[in-house]
């Protein structure tokens, strides 16, 4: 065995962002990760083919289940998050639904943050009906709310490092402890923080999900997602026969007994990804790998710009509220200091004095901010939820969703901060 594989050094985050999961191609010597645009793989011999399908050997069979370019993305992300492995998916929502599908059974109960991304809430309510689950949404800011919602059937607690759009910061350590007391894992969506700003697995979370579409890629070109496992949860605690008992979907294989700490990820890939089919494309994996190479550098600049703009907005008389948890005096100060010492991300809302009309006028006034429904791009983005994503809601329903008629959501990009301030000034001028 060659010397260079000996892990005699703990490499830093930026080094790992560039190298983890991406060795030079042994066949061609290609230094960049090749895009393995192939559906399938020729087997060496019938014995090898059988061993791959039986999971007795790790080998490529079919790109719905695994692909070398996608594997480089999976290993790199799991390395950065401090997990034992990852499975990539076609989107963040595909990653999330597959993570849930793998560990939940009909009749199970989930405690979820009420501040979760709207698309996640919709997915949970959909799964609740289709899979006969029971989901309780709680105000995530008080750990006691999570504890109060737990019951005998609770199999999962689900939160976000930084909530969208309210900017709620999760007390990961406290909620993880509540989950483990209940014999359930804690799943955390770390999309807004990325592993550069926070590593939820270090604080006791068991599973992390990502929309790679956002900051991991950073270029706004590709949709993708991933599930990362800490490998710490005891699936054989008697409460997860779906993972611990022999699986009828894989000819009687008991995933946790056979694969130990890797049991959840093996089931997620060999059964859930195989059967539900939401695989990431190799080309998208390639683009995400390019993005991750500069993740830490970009996030520092996203955060720097976000701080400047949030502070500037907070000084204005025509802004009633700036909901950036990284703003000094935020009610999340303590949690930001603990979990997000490098900064509280770059997506936040502020409220205009003047309601729906003011929100729409503001959008009309800006030129650099792109008016669209995404976040986490190198380009700065803007949206007025009351006239777009939440258009069907009346003012009372908006308030329940934590959105005011004059709420504007910003995703701060990598441009020069002074240019972004100039642009926002034009938005304010348009309100007149």
């Amino acid at each position: 065995m060659s010397e260079e594989h000996r892990p005699d050094r703990e490499f830093g985050f930026h080094t790992r962002s560039i190298h983890a999961g991406a060795r030079p191609d042994p066949t061609t010597g290609a230094r960049a990760i090749p895009i393995f645009q192939t559906t399938s793989y020729v087997f060496e011999d019938p014995e090898s083919a059988a061993a791959y399908f039986n999971l007795q050997e790790y080998g490529n069979t079919y790109s719905r289940i695994m692909n070398p370019t996608v594997a480089a993305f999976e290993e790199r992300l799991s390395n950065l998050e401090g997990g034992i492995g990852a499975v990539a998916f076609a989107s963040g929502l595909a990653a999330q639904s597959s993570a849930l599908f793998t560990l939940l059974a009909p009749g199970d109960h989930v405690v979820a943050s009420a501040a979760l991304y709207g698309g996640t809430v919709t997915q949970l309510k959909h799964l609740e009906r289709k899979l006969s689950l029971d989901v309780t949404f709680v105000d995530p800011d008080r750990p006691q709310n999570w504890a109060d919602a737990v019951c005998d059937e609770t199999k999962l607690l689900f939160g976000e490092t930084i909530g969208n759009p309210g900017g709620n910061v999760l007390d990961i350590e406290a909620v993880a402890s509540i989950a483990h007391d209940a014999g359930a894992p804690l799943l955390v969506d770390n999309t807004f923080a990325t592993p550069w700003l926070c590593r939820p697995l270090d604080w006791g979370a068991d599973i992390v999900v990502h929309s790679a579409t956002k900051f991991l890629g950073g270029h706004g070109t590709s949709i993708g997602g991933a599930v990362v496992d800490a490998g710490e949860f005891d699936w054989s605690n008697g409460r997860f026969p779906i993972i611990a008992e022999p699986s009828p979907a894989y000819h009687g294989l008991a995933f946790h007994e056979t694969f130990g700490t890797y049991g959840y990820l093996m089931k997620l890939r060999a059964e859930t990804l195989r059967d539900l089919g939401g695989a990431m494309s190799p080309f998208n994996a390639f683009l995400f790998l390019q993005g991750i190479e500069t993740l830490g550098l970009r996030m520092d600049r996203h955060v720097g710009n976000a701080r400047t703009i949030a502070a500037w907005l907070a000084e204005r008389d025509d802004v009633t509220q700036v909901r950036y948890p990284g703003l000094a005096g935020s009610k999340y100060d303590g949690l930001v200091a603990k979990y997000l010492p490098r900064g509280a991300g770059a997506v936040f809302c502020f409220d205009l004095d003047g309601g729906r009309q003011a929100g729409q006028d503001f959008i009309r006034g800006v030129r650099l901010f792109s008016h669209l429904a995404n976040v986490g791009d190198a380009k700065s983005l803007i949206i007025h939820p009351a006239s777009t994503t939440h258009r069907q809601l009346n003012d009372d329903e908006l308030a329940a969703a934590g959105i005011g008629p004059g709420t504007i959501r910003l995703s701060i990009g990598l441009e020069d901060a002074q240019d972004l301030l100039w642009d926002l000034e034009q938005g304010f001028a348009q309100i007149g």
């Binding site: 983890a20 999971l55 799991s78 492995g85 990852a86």
Partner: protein, 163 residues
Amino acid sequence: MADTPNMEIWQDPETIQTILHNARTVAVVGLSSNPLRASNFVGFYARRHGYRVIPVNPRESEVFGERSWPSLSEIPEPVDVVDVFRAPDAVPGIVEESIAINAKALWLQFGVIHEEAATQARDAGIDVVMDRCLKIEHARYIGRMHVLGFNTNTLSARREVPA
């Protein structure tokens, strides 16, 4: 698990790689002929990767076409690694036998945790790995674990020359 021992000393990457690199013969204690059992996965994999696998299981007569021995002491050839798929309370007896047959390494699979017996083996000059899977560690350092998106925690910009 409040009484979890300090596992790091039993999961040293250098020790793991030295064992995997130097071993030729692996005696698998508790090897099952049932292809769905973890022991069968590991034995099958080790054979594929060139190790000589010797079954040790009084309940089996033959696994992978190899005679199964009732105990370590009855194996009529030298053993490099004793790989254990048994309940933790069987470990002290296995350690005594491992010392008696001059095994070079003791490998205790996932959940096979017995710190006192492991310490006894180490004091007798045997390399010990505990609560780790031989197949997974081989795949991490020598095999193709990254194929399935696992974190091998290995990093290199050198071009590997295929063997």
